[in-house]
């Protein structure tokens, strides 16, 4: 186990290094300049500002400086937010994104699992079709469409929750969380349904039934644990989906999160912030995938993390 975790950690750092390198050089191919007033300034005036940002140096030198600072945990200074470190920028914008992401993930998977179980237990009934229908909507309609619909009906028309902004406490987080949750919800419902149906027809469930265990006990105690394993495998990609969804959903609800910042930093050629947000998202995903792998072993002892006898 320790050996496995150690090996994984080394791979994680290697992955981060490759992502940082690739992003750094890809970013250089972005057209345009980080200087907002670029087209007003003449050559020598541009040179003054470029020197200040450190983008007058040759690319390999810039890369070396960046990687050196990165190794010390310093993500550099934003080109757009003058004089402010990207670390501070991410720190101040992390909270709303985290709250939305966590709520969406928890809400989405729990409701999804419940829907999936209901569908599996009541196979080929109205409940099954209803939950399937719901799941297909969730998968095929992007989160920003849900965001707009929720915003229009629940907030603008019925005045139940705020239209947007992040100044109304927990109320501000409800609609964007629901919009983001639709993806994970749909996906988990589908996975759980399929797995449950398979698990429910296996021998040990028949045995449990024969021994007189009630339906609730069978579903939640015996069947669900086995049915959960495939779902855990997709939680990583689902988290990735949340990140991409948040880029647009945060903008629609005018929420000061990281996703929204990511988009605007690309539009404004803010190299340091593009790097910072990309690395932040990558680190987040890598850690999630790592946790998921560890979780396998806990949910299903049959999956041995370190090779072992076979």
């Amino acid at each position: 186990m320790v050996k496995y975790v150690g090996k994984r950690l080394i791979y994680m750092f290697l992955t981060m290094f490759l992502i940082a390198t690739a992003t750094f050089f890809l970013m250089q191919t972005l057209p345009g300049s980080p200087i907002a007033s670029y087209n007003k300034l003449n050559e020598s005036q541009r040179a003054i500002v470029e020197k200040k940002y450190g983008i007058d140096k040759p690319k390999p030198v810039q890369y070396a400086i960046y990687m050196k600072n990165l190794a010390q945990g310093d993500l550099g200074t934003s080109f757009v937010f003058k004089g402010k470190s990207v670390n501070d920028l991410l720190a101040s914008r992390f909270k709303p994104s985290f709250i939305l992401g966590a709520q969406a993930m928890v809400f989405g998977t729990i409701i999804g699992i419940l829907l999936g179980i209901i569908a599996a237990l009541r196979q080929n009934t109205f409940w099954d079709y209803g939950s399937t229908f719901f799941a297909i909507l969730g998968i095929s309609i992007p989160s920003f469409v849900f965001a707009s619909l929720l915003q229009y009906w629940v907030a603008s028309e019925w005045h139940l929750l705020p239209v947007g902004l992040w100044n109304d406490g927990w109320k501000s987080s409800i609609l964007p969380s629901i919009a983001l949750a639709m993806g994970p919800l749909a996906l988990s419902a589908r996975f759980i349904r399929t797995e449950m149906i398979e698990v429910l027809s296996s021998d040990y469930i028949t045995l449990a039934k024969a021994k007189g265990a009630n339906g609730f006990e069978i579903a939640f105690k015996h069947a669900l644990r086995n049915a959960l394993i495939p779902l855990v495998t997709v939680l990583g990609p689902v988290a990735a989906g949340l990140v991409t969804g948040s880029l647009v959903v945060e903008q629609i609800f005018a929420i000061p999160g990281i996703g929204e910042q990511f988009v605007s930093s690309i539009m404004s050629n803010d190299h340091a912030t593009i790097m910072g947000t990309t690395l932040f998202f990558s680190a987040f995903l890598i850690v999630v995938i790592f946790i998921v792998d560890i979780l396998y072993g806990i949910i299903d002892p049959r999956i041995r993390l370190s090779g072992g006898k076979n």
């Binding site: 200087i35 087209n39 300034l41 005036q45 909507l137 005018a254 000061p256």
Partner: protein
């Protein structure tokens, strides 16, 4: 069997979502027309009263976060807007957009040759209670031009205007040589490189605001990084700004010299980038003003609370005469003139833009620059290259004959927003429809890509625009002098260059002759040479609550002053 059911379900869900979407859309438009009329009736009642309410709280939307509030560093619209409301320069643009003394106690004393300005400062205080002195201006200006500061606008605004600015910014002279001296605590003397007729209006621009040396030095790198690390000498102080956040609050500045005329107590600002969300917040009563951008304009142009905010940005086609070292077909004057005259501008402004934009047959915008009698530069300079499809056809034929071809394929380089795309399609159909043998290819790219293609002169026709940096026609006409930083289309006319040069030199002290020269230059650029084809002067559609009054909208620099704004008749 099962698969069929799944397919059926899927199809049903698709149909349902289409219906849902359609319903949503329809309700939207109906709602817009119904609700506001009610409020408008209320508004007209209250207009007569006009007394400020007891509660003076305004709720506004900004389109982007604040990058900086350091007057030496600011280079964007939001930054200049914030600066204008929390700080103040020697002059301030008033409600009529005339620069009037602000930190200066009275009109400046100007020397005979127009090179020396002497300002007497009024008794004004910083928000920490200390006096605003002449040294604060000297320090701020020197800091803005110091190459170590890395200011974009310092060198841009001061070079060629303030004495020695160019040499200092290039590191050839010490910043103490800058043409600004504090004779005593309350007397400031500024020396110019050349007479600058619009110099006083420049004094209202953010880059020329004062900074207190003691405070800036004490804060060091932390200066201006959040609302606590700043000093204010304007109508409001900035609070609750963490340096990168999407919200902030303006509070009335009790130390402001003219505080008795500032009515608003609090202004809550949130950044909302999505125009549709901004409008929803407005309709919900959370915000008192919202911009209606792009596609939404047509839908809201008849909204009862819609107002057109006139702007001073002008959009035009640039004709690139040289690509990869070779002349393009657009080097032919008749071809350029034909294209410039071949598209209808009124329809474009009314139907496609629908945001209060007006057709432009000029480069220097309307309601922007005035002579000393208050006459608009536009009334002096007249119209150029007016739409005329018949004439366009003749010029086109002549041009083709001169080039010895029967057809041409040209590329229009334009923006990639929904609105830009519609506009590009419009040009394509107008040009191809009126000019036989012309094939237009559209290239639609984001702004930064367009800038890069512009810099490398990789385009045929480019839809471009410009907003002014100071209140004088030269801010536009300077663009197209030979080798100008923004010419980038190989246009060159010595006569044009000479007129622009003379306006900065021998004509600088003769306003009437100077305006004549500038008007002539504009005519050469557009009517005589057809170097560019003006399209429209932009307007902005805004929704504004009827109880929100006294907002000053400025034609250059900062967009707004909230100093005179107030709430009247909000229940």
């Amino acid at each position: 069997m099962k698969r069929n059911k799944m397919l059926l379900l899927f199809a049903l869900s698709l149909v349902l979502s289409v219906i849902l979407a359609a319903c949503g859309g329809k309700d939207k438009t109906e709602d817009k027309n119904a609700a506001p009329n009610k409020e408008n009736d209320k508004a007209t009642e209250q207009e007569e009263a006009g007394e400020p309410d007891a509660e003076q709280v305004l709720n506004l939307i900004e389109s982007a976060a604040i990058p900086s509030v350091d007057s030496a560093i600011v280079e964007d619209a939001v930054g200049f807007n914030v600066l204008n409301n929390v700080n103040e320069g020697l002059y301030r643009l008033n409600l009529e957009n005339v620069a009037e003394p602000a930190m200066a106690a009275e009109e400046a004393e100007v020397s005979e040759d127009g090179l020396t300005y002497k300002f007497k400062l009024r008794d004004a205080k910083w928000s920490d209670g200390s006096e605003v002195t002449a040294h604060d201006f000297v320090f701020a200006w020197q800091r803005a031009i110091d190459p170590d500061t890395g200011s974009p606008y310092g060198p841009f605004m001061m070079s060629g205007v303030i004495k020695n600015a160019t040499a200092i910014s290039e590191g050839e002279m010490d910043k103490s040589e800058l043409g600004i001296v504090a004779e005593d605590d309350k007397t400031l003397v500024v020396t110019l490189e050349r007479p600058v007729p619009y110099f006083l209006s420049l004094m209202s621009f953010g880059t020329f605001y004062p900074q207190k040396e003691e405070f800036v030095t004490a804060k060091g790198d932390a200066y201006a990084t959040n609302s606590d690390n700043l000093l204010y000498n304007g109508p409001f102080v900035l609070t609750e700004w963490d340096g990168t956040g999407d919200s902030w609050v303006y509070k009335k500045n009790e130390h402001y010299w003219d505080a008795e005329n500032v009515k608003l107590e609090t202004i809550n600002v949130d950044v909302v980038k999505d125009s549709a969300t901004a409008i929803k917040l407005y309709n919900d009563g959370k915000k008192d003003r919202a911009g209606v951008s792009g596609d939404l304009a047509l839908q809201y142009s008849s909204h009862a609370e819609a107002i057109v905010q006139p702007e001073t940005s002008v959009f035009y086609m640039k004709f690139n005469q040289e690509k990869d070292g070779k002349e393009t077909p657009l080097a032919n004057e008749n071809i350029r003139r034909a294209i410039a005259k071949s598209f209808e501008k009124q329809d474009l402004a009314d139907v496609i833009l629908a945001n209060g934009s007006i057709p432009a047959n000029f480069l220097v915008p309307k309601d922007f620059a005035f002579d000393e009698n208050g006459k608009d530069f536009r009334d002096i300079a007249g119209d150029h290259l007016v739409y005329n499809a018949e004439e366009a056809k003749d010029f086109w034929q002549k041009g083709l004959d001169e080039l010895g071809v029967t057809n041409l394929e040209l590329e229009i380089l334009g923006g990639d927003t929904e609105l830009s795309k519609k506009m590009n399609e419009y040009f394509k159909s107008q040009l191809e429809g009126n000019l036989e043998g012309l094939k237009i290819k559209l290239k639609e790219v984001p702004f930064s890509v367009r800038l890069e293609l512009d810099t490398n002169q990789q385009y045929d026709i480019q839809i471009s625009g410009w907003g002014p940096d100071f209140q004088d026609p030269i801010t536009f006409l300077d663009l197209f002098v030979t080798d100008g930083t923004n010419n980038l289309m190989s246009y060159s006319n010595p006569e044009y260059d000479a007129l622009i040069a003379s306006s900065k030199d021998e004509l600088a002290l003769d306003p009437a002759a100077r305006y004549e020269a500038l008007a002539k230059a504009e005519k050469i650029l557009i009517e005589d040479d057809a170097a560019i084809a003006p399209i429209y002067q932009r307007g902005l559609l805004q929704l504004q609550k009827p109880y929100f009054k006294g907002l000053a909208v400025h034609p250059f620099g900062a967009d707004y002053s909230y100093k005179w704004a107030y709430i009247s008749g909000k229940e």
